[in-house]
Symmetry: C2
Subunit: 364 residues, 2 copies
């Protein structure tokens, strides 16, 4: 093994040992003045990248689902903000206004995304300091995002390790959507310690992240994986074919409410009704600014996304769709919320805030 410091996992994994989606280039990366984003829409069939030269292009990549996952898209947005800063030293008001405009544009892409908010706030703060100290705001933003990306990898691995410990050898794990890096690290760690995990991936309409991304991660980790429709998970739980339900969370409230891809709540209900654990992977803990569900603004995306598959309409002309992209699961349906600071009972997740930090001065 060699040091893998830009990845943040020095001496644990080599970049090439990881599934594509948790490599650096599987998120978004900075390449000589452009933001290079792996086009997740082309997966699993093609490994294709989009090079963005402007804030607007990065914002559209997020809106058009070129990249998804709360942390991955926050990394893309952070690098995207660097495109709003001129290279070199900048200290004029116009440069600062461009950064603020860039941040506003990127924030608009995903109103529910907390990591996105934090990343952009940190980058703006770093740029402000750079400007005040007559340093390069672009370099300062890039350093902030690099640091955040490395910390995210370390936190993700720590969270995945804890999750792996909670699963029995041979367990069948149902998941919904693509639960991002903690989940991938959970699989990678299981492989490392010789534990077998059977993966069931709920396809997750309309964008099929489960069928395309989760399954790819599991396949690249060497585990058996089966894809199901979003209506099937509850039935499999009832038939005794699932041992645990595991998802990520776009946001966790201080009372333990979990906000995640729509469909999560139904599965959480089914897990609870069938006595199965529901583990939430949320590496960076709860959002201290969200006391409970009332603080969560659920994003209603364009209903046309639901009545279209591959550009073709499924429903008759005149019939629209309804697409709340996220749902909220109350804490009584959640067994553990797993973070970089350990696994918490949902009702006690607020204790995360005072627990020993795993990453000091985390950005997101």
């Amino acid at each position: 093994m060699v040091a893998n410091d830009r990845l943040g996992l020095e001496g644990v994994f080599l970049e090439e040992e990881l599934p594509l989606l948790i490599r650096r280039r599987g998120m978004a990366d900075w390449h000589d003045g452009v933001v290079r984003i792996l086009d997740r829409r082309a997966l699993p069939h093609e490994e294709r990248y989009v090079d963005c030269a402007s804030v607007e292009e990065v914002a559209r990549c997020i809106e058009d689902m070129v990249i998804q996952g709360a942390f991955s898209l926050s990394v893309a947005a952070g690098y995207g903000l660097a495109l709003a800063a001129e290279p070199g030293v900048g200290n004029d008001d116009q440069g600062w206004a461009a950064l603020q405009q860039g941040s506003d544009r990127l924030l608009k892409t995903r109103p529910t995304g907390l990591a996105l908010h934090r990343m952009l706030k940190a980058c703006l703060g770093a740029a402000r300091t750079a400007i005040e100290q007559a340093e390069s705001p672009r370099d300062s933003i890039l350093a902030t995002v690099d640091r955040a990306a490395a910390a995210l990898a370390r936190q993700g691995y720590q969270t995945g390790r804890t999750a792996c410990e909670l699963l029995a050898d041979g367990a069948t794990v149902l998941t919904h959507c693509f639960p991002d890096r903690s989940y991938a690290y959970m699989l990678v760690e299981a492989r490392r310690v010789g534990k077998t995990i059977n993966v069931i991936a709920s396809e997750t309409r309309p964008y099929l992240q489960g069928a395309r991304l989760t399954s790819l991660c599991a396949l690249q980790t060497g585990f058996d994986v089966k894809v199901i429709t979003d209506g099937t998970g509850g039935s499999l739980m009832r038939r005794g074919q699932v041992d645990a339900f595991v998802t990520a969370a776009d946001r966790v409230c201080m009372d333990g409410t979990v906000c995640n891809k729509v469909g999560t709540y139904q599965y959480a209900l089914a897990a609870h009704a069938n006595g199965l654990p529901y583990f939430v992977l949320r590496q960076s803990g709860p959002d201290v600014e969200s006391a409970d569900e009332s603080a969560v603004e659920v994003e209603f995306r364009d209903g046309e996304e639901v009545v279209t598959i591959g550009g073709e309409r499924t429903a008759p002309a005149g019939v629209g769709g309804l697409y709340p992209a996220f749902d909220c699961t109350p804490p009584e349906l959640v067994t553990r919320i797993i973070t970089d600071r350990g696994a918490f009972r949902a009702e006690e997740i607020a204790a995360y805030v005072d627990a020993e930090p795993f990453v000091r001065d985390a950005v997101v």
Copy 2:
């Protein structure tokens, strides 16, 4: 209004007033020696028919989802069996063997389908009698199916009327899959009596019967309809955007267990958790031969159907799908089972058997 006796709804509705899918030609019909089946796969965009000249062709139509819905496909299968009988009087052993073979082939298409079993049994019985009396087995099968189809329409309308009475004016009703004729009659009756129903149709992957068929029925009845992904219904119930959950049932057990398209169980759980009624439309009541869930053989269809959309693979090569086509919902999650003999509490559905018959000598 004119008599509509072949439809079975004399003086109530004209054929042309009904949504396409509950017209006679919206199921399957006999036309001069061929079985003409509306190709539901081409809906909602095209009204196309498949003409079948052999048992095998009808069987493939059922297997390939040209037609679906327990009763509609049983009508298609009944007419299909007529293709195994030579026209005219038949009384030789070879003719009888061909009918038995035809019935076996058609039964194999849907092992879970009770109406299919009943229809084929009735048709074989009628053919046997015809042969013994030196009459035409084909004519006798056709008369049996015609009688069954007319009775199904009357039962469906009676069931739909009762369901309509249970819904408040302006109610928003979530459904899953295409709940066939009783549901369509529920909407048609609501329109007739001036009640507004807002329809939410769960798209129902992999074949999208909700997006394509349920939505078409609602649209043709003149009601507002929105399509959602199969993961969304629970979330809408929790948000207070649904007043009732309504489905058909492929089978109801004598203890009130409901067997229907996979995904139904999850929604039933969510309805129960959110204090909403779950109404099951099952016009012909419970299956007296199915005491409880242990009698139900859930059909696992080819997993490839889940990882393919429009012929294109969604998952990476090497990843398979898992597709139990049906699931079972226990009676405690069901509010009422609505039949042609009235609305029953799920636990009391066995009382259907001794209730006053609505149709005498029903075939299916």
